[in-house]
């Protein structure tokens, strides 16, 4: 019944010290590169994951298993950004068809289409899900009141090149935006003025805001940098072996993970900045990586068109991963477990 577990001939020196090798879970379905992903908060039905793809069909998945729930159909171009509200009841997407769309994340229905004058790259809900922030190639930040969708959005201009990412922060009183003009700007949402500007030598590749602790995670070149979201003061920075496209800080701030050009995922100790592990698995550059809201796993999206889920504590029973003790492996009564074979290079 089911798959017989393949048991290798390794002797088990000691059950306690037996190290486990990370088994990433591959979520297939997209047909083109996955360029953005976001988790919801923890809801009574678990947590959820949305992925943005150049195939124009963003997908919703169950966060802890990667099981596909549905595909949001409607965009006519590559989807560059995707987000969920905390309760995972609403989704928003930003696309190359010059629109941002708001969706009912339970039914999959399109709720709102917000026309823009150029490619939209980033979307972000406020904590109460009442406002949507958008940013894209027309260099203007827009704030939409979702209770009054016909009303004109508030606009914040200032960036001199395409906006790549825009986020609410500091209790939704500030907006953080990163653009191709190699700056990150902190805006006061009421005065619409830039409170602070950070300039870099290279274009910022990703930005993550951690509300608890008000930390901003920024990647550019091979650097992963951590800033205070209030003052934009640098906390610390780490250089990786390859160009990094995205990084994420664990909710408990003990680790962070990063991925980029060399297809690998790196895991670092946040306090010591030491590289702890690196994982191969993707067949293309990694575009986005995020920790789940409970910190038990992180998801990566790649040029290879897949999403992969990785365990934070390798070997722990969680989601689809099962901790198997040595005695169980050779037992006749073992459940049908799938034990992946050794990596086969393509």
């Amino acid at each position: 019944k089911g798959l017989r577990l393949f048991v290798s001939c390794h002797p088990f020196w000691s059950p306690v010290s037996m190290a486990m090798r990370q088994t990433p879970l591959t979520c297939s379905g997209h047909t083109r590169p996955v360029v953005d992903l976001a988790f919801s908060g923890i809801t009574p039905y678990g947590y959820f994951l949305i992925s943005a793809c150049k195939d124009g069909k963003p997908m919703l998945r169950q966060g802890d298993t990667g099981d596909w729930i549905g595909t949001f159909l409607g965009h006519k171009g590559a989807v560059w950004g995707a987000t969920l509200n905390k309760e995972a009841t609403k989704a928003a997407t930003a696309a190359a068809d010059f629109t941002a769309k708001v969706w009912d994340a339970v039914t999959g229905d399109e709720v709102l289409t917000l026309a823009h004058k150029h490619i939209v790259k980033s979307v972000n809900f406020t904590e109460d899900s009442n406002c949507l922030l958008t940013g894209g190639n027309d260099k203007v930040l827009r704030i939409y009141d979702l209770g009054k969708p016909e009303a004109e959005p508030q606009e914040i201009a200032g960036h001199t090149s395409a906006i790549k990412k825009a986020l609410w922060c500091n209790n939704d009183q500030h907006i953080l935006s990163a653009a191709e003009d190699k700056t990150i700007r902190l805006w006061d949402k009421n005065t619409k003025e830039a409170v602070k500007t950070l300039s870099f030598d290279a274009s910022v590749s990703s930005m993550e805001y951690i509300p608890d602790g008000e930390i901003l995670v920024i990647t550019y070149g091979r650097t992963i940098a951590f800033y205070s979201a209030h003052s934009l003061d640098l906390i610390k920075a780490v250089d990786a072996p390859a160009s990094i496209h995205s990084a994420s800080l664990h909710p408990e701030k003990d680790f962070f993970v990063a991925g980029g050009d060399d297809f690998k995922l790196y895991k670092y100790d946040y306090s010591t900045k030491d590289e702890m592990e690196s994982y191969k698995g993707h067949f293309g550059p990694i575009h986005c990586v995020r920790f789940s809201p409970d910190g038990e796993l992180y998801a990566s999206g790649s040029e290879d068109g897949t999403l992969r889920l990785w365990q934070t504590a390798v070997g722990k029973t969680y989601g689809l991963w099962k901790c198997v003790l040595p005695e169980e492996l050779s037992s006749e009564n073992s459940e049908a477990l799938y034990c992946p074979p050794a990596e086969i290079k393509a």
Binding site: L5, M20, L25, T65, W68, L309, Q311, Y338
Partner: protein
């Protein structure tokens, strides 16, 4: 050498992929049932229930009319008015269950006649055809 000694973590199964026949969002999932109350009123509905009932009846009637229009269209030469001022003629075959795609034959395009083709409903604004001699019907998709 050391890493090859490590046993890979076991998994119960692989993550489920998309269903090729639907866009998902299962209406029978616990989350859907809890968060999207049905519009069909219960037998013990209040006076506002009759307004819901009327709306439901009208919706059902409109839906039935739309489906009958699709049936009537089958095999007929239909004119499709689409975005970007595109207007094409084709023989209508069938629609898929979600009315996302229309199967047509002998699609007349500026590049020539396409024997078999699929039209995306989201691109179609309206279809019109002759239901019977001299009578033209228009359906907005």
């Amino acid at each position: 050498m050391r890493s090859s000694m490590k046993t890979p973590v076991s998994v119960l199964r692989l993550p489920r992929g998309p269903d090729p026949n639907s866009r998902g969002f299962d209406p029978n999932s616990p989350r859907f049932v809890a968060l999207c109350p049905t519009t069909v009123p219960s037998s013990s509905s209040s006076s506002s229930g009759s307004a819901d009932e009327e709306e439901q009846r009208l919706r059902a009637e409109l839906r039935e009319r739309f489906l009958r229009t699709l049936l009537l269209m089958t095999g007929k030469r239909v004119r499709f008015d689409m975005h970007e001022h595109v207007r094409v003629h084709a023989r209508f075959g069938a629609s898929d269950i979600d009315v996302l795609t229309l199967q047509v034959s002998d699609l007349e395009t500026p590049l020539g006649v396409q024997r078999e083709a699929l039209l995306r409903c989201q691109d179609v604004i309206a279809c019109s055809f002759e239901a019977r001699e001299g009578a033209r019907s228009v359906a907005t998709v």
